[in-house]
Symmetry: C2
Subunit: 500 residues, 2 copies
Amino acid sequence: MAGERILHKELSERIIDDKKAASFFKDKMVVASSGFTKSGDSKAVLSALVQRAQTDPLKITLMTGASLGHGTDGALAAAKLLHLRLPFQVDTVLRKAINDGEVLFIDQHLGETANLLKANNFPKIDIAILEAAKIQEDGSIIPTTSVGNSAAFAALADKIIIELNTSVSLDIIGVHDICSPGEYPNRSEIHIVEANSRVGTIAIPIEVDKVIGIVLTDKKDSPAEIAPADETTKAIAKHLVGFFNDEIKKGNLTKSLMPLQAGIGKVANAVLNGFIEGDFENLTMYSEVLQDSTFDLLDSGKLNFASGSSITVSEEYYHKVFDNFDKYRNKIILRPQDISNAAEVIRRLGVISINTALECDIYGNVNSTHIAGTNMMNGIGGSGDFARNAYLSVFVTQSIAKGGKITSIVPMVSHVDHTEHDVDIIVTEQGLADLRGLAPRQRAKIIIENCAHPSYRSYLLDYFDRACERGGQTPHLLEEAFDIYKDLREKGTMAKQIFS
Amino acid sequence: MAGERILHKELSERIIDDKKAASFFKDKMVVASSGFTKSGDSKAVLSALVQRAQTDPLKITLMTGASLGHGTDGALAAAKLLHLRLPFQVDTVLRKAINDGEVLFIDQHLGETANLLKANNFPKIDIAILEAAKIQEDGSIIPTTSVGNSAAFAALADKIIIELNTSVSLDIIGVHDICSPGEYPNRSEIHIVEANSRVGTIAIPIEVDKVIGIVLTDKKDSPAEIAPADETTKAIAKHLVGFFNDEIKKGNLTKSLMPLQAGIGKVANAVLNGFIEGDFENLTMYSEVLQDSTFDLLDSGKLNFASGSSITVSEEYYHKVFDNFDKYRNKIILRPQDISNAAEVIRRLGVISINTALECDIYGNVNSTHIAGTNMMNGIGGSGDFARNAYLSVFVTQSIAKGGKITSIVPMVSHVDHTEHDVDIIVTEQGLADLRGLAPRQRAKIIIENCAHPSYRSYLLDYFDRACERGGQTPHLLEEAFDIYKDLREKGTMAKQIFS
């Protein structure tokens, strides 16, 4: 089974077991691992490292593409293995360790990690663990269900461990498009001019001498768990699809819109499913993650092509996709995340980005990451790469949470991930605020009126009116801007303001 | 005099006076004007419009490259001419009108205005006023001391008025490099791979039928007023130059560093002058504004080339530059601001950006625009275009203002223009904080220790320590994060916290 997957003779002699691989790691090492939104991650080696740490403790810096699957991040945190983690995570155990100050976490634009490594922002990578479907004659590796930062890690790491995953269909060969903007100071253009532009190679080049071991595994990716659409997410999708229809009628957009990017999760899925119903045609995606709804859209004939950095699907869709791969082969590309999320390409293509906000303020600033301004949820992910450079930057959120105890439209966000400049459209189940061409005071009125939950509107309007009396480009009453968080902390609800 | 400057016969018959030009404007029109950091702005037509408004009031939307000279923005505001202004201003009268809510202001990334216009974020431009040094045989115009958004305005406006400025030396012909990334959805790469790459034409194409008048003027640009370096700015420059020297010693940078960008003002000037003394060679600039210090650096032989969107110099340097233009002709390029500030190019070249902060917080978030979170100072300008995409993003500020009544290092900035992700280095006269590769809690310690004024350090440390006790990725005590602004408002000083 492994034989047909290792075509480089010398490398075929470097197969080791996961325990041996785990023994290579030393305290304080900088470790990089493949993996993006739970796909194509290290399944054997990191897991063996957790085992080893039970009796032989050590601390590492761990960087990845994005989140890991199989609870690996949680297991690493529980084993006290992590000194520093970047650039993204979604694990409840790790999250707690981060917020407790036990693990340092660098929250990073996912398109920037490779650039920052090349600009000497971190110590050198000691060992990179890269999942692969196949090792080619020249030692280059075919990635699996994600590319993430693997190409950059391979180029920059001192040593490499390859996790050869025999569960991944060899049909995947040819789907990846590996390219790099090059090294400073001699970087060149990224020649992608359409979502389906192919500009690279199908495999990641590997310096064979760096490979200190090949570990075999047949463990599959963790399946994505997507909550089904509900009334709220359907309402959000309806408002947004209605907006696009209006823009088409006005002649601002064609039925093909512009290339789409969508974050992950149930709102994004509901929105993408909304495109199936609407009067759209020849859509394309230039996104990060190809998820269940991406394949539904492809099947519907509405979507012609999807570019991303990973395939992250539910168990049902995993079979659907890989049992019928010929159907999708020419309709998808997986790219390195510094290419899928490249400012250059996103702006050139004119991507319409759709991302989820934790909270938005009345002037259009967005918090995507920090609960009550302090506790990390997941990370900024690629939302900033896309929102800053998008043709149209959309943020979606439910207007309230916890049965109304929390409003997602607030006077001033408790943490800023995306400034007003990077936010064109805000959508909640209440409605849509089109902020393009509006000054802050105009933005406030339309956000409160269209997006805030009715039970919080008068509170927000009162704040805004009194702030305007004091004046300013962005009127605020700093001494009470965060009162609702105090109420939430002390009384368990922001709604106190409504009744006070 | 005008004859040799209008080589297009038909256009030479469209000369009108400024009063006639002013009569073309109607209430509610969208007007665009050339002008970037007080250079190459409309001197005759906007001024005549102010005169007209005394007896014949009207309101317009006015967009420019950046700031206008000659107090024009103030005169427009005083004449109640402005409904909406974008994307930048530096005028005290206009600033007050904005903060009083009399003029709507859209503060915008200077590199994005042209993109947003092309993405239908604003109504169509009715009239564009474009300063030119010469009109060529084909009707195309040679810009003067700035390019700004003129090329985009010329392409997008319904009608065009050309202000032919006979005071500008014709030696300037050939300095401009006009190109465009194209129109959605068919944009292409911007093929700039070095600061001195030439990829366009020397003139802005003009549809001759759009030109409704040519107004002659011989008024010069407002000279830049630059406060001389003082002990504080010299100390900031010294810390920063020392940092670069250390990076060279470590092998992280060569003596040529990477292409430099510097904001305007006395700190930036002091820093650029610092490069003259240091052990640097073959420097280049990929910036917005070529200022006095740029020409000093060119004269010193340390700087090989400077790319920008405008030449904004003092009266003394205006003569120095234009009386010896052959010396500089091949060492400078002026570009459209969507090219000088293009995310694509900034990231590709690996620009080192140096911009001024109003205040920074202990986690590295920066406020560049809003005094006490509400009142607009000037605008974000190009700082965001550069900071987000830079190889190394530096922010400089004095640690205190108003004799210590204000600290520029605060627990939480009152307005966020640049998030922690976009800020690598903070420098005050106290020292330098290198934030690369650090998590928020690590950032806080080094910013407080290295950059805060000694008199505020214990206050900031106490805030940080108590916030850490509560926990979080970015520990905050929201209920007291803005206490210093309350003190400033009520007692006229933030220093109350020091003694309480």
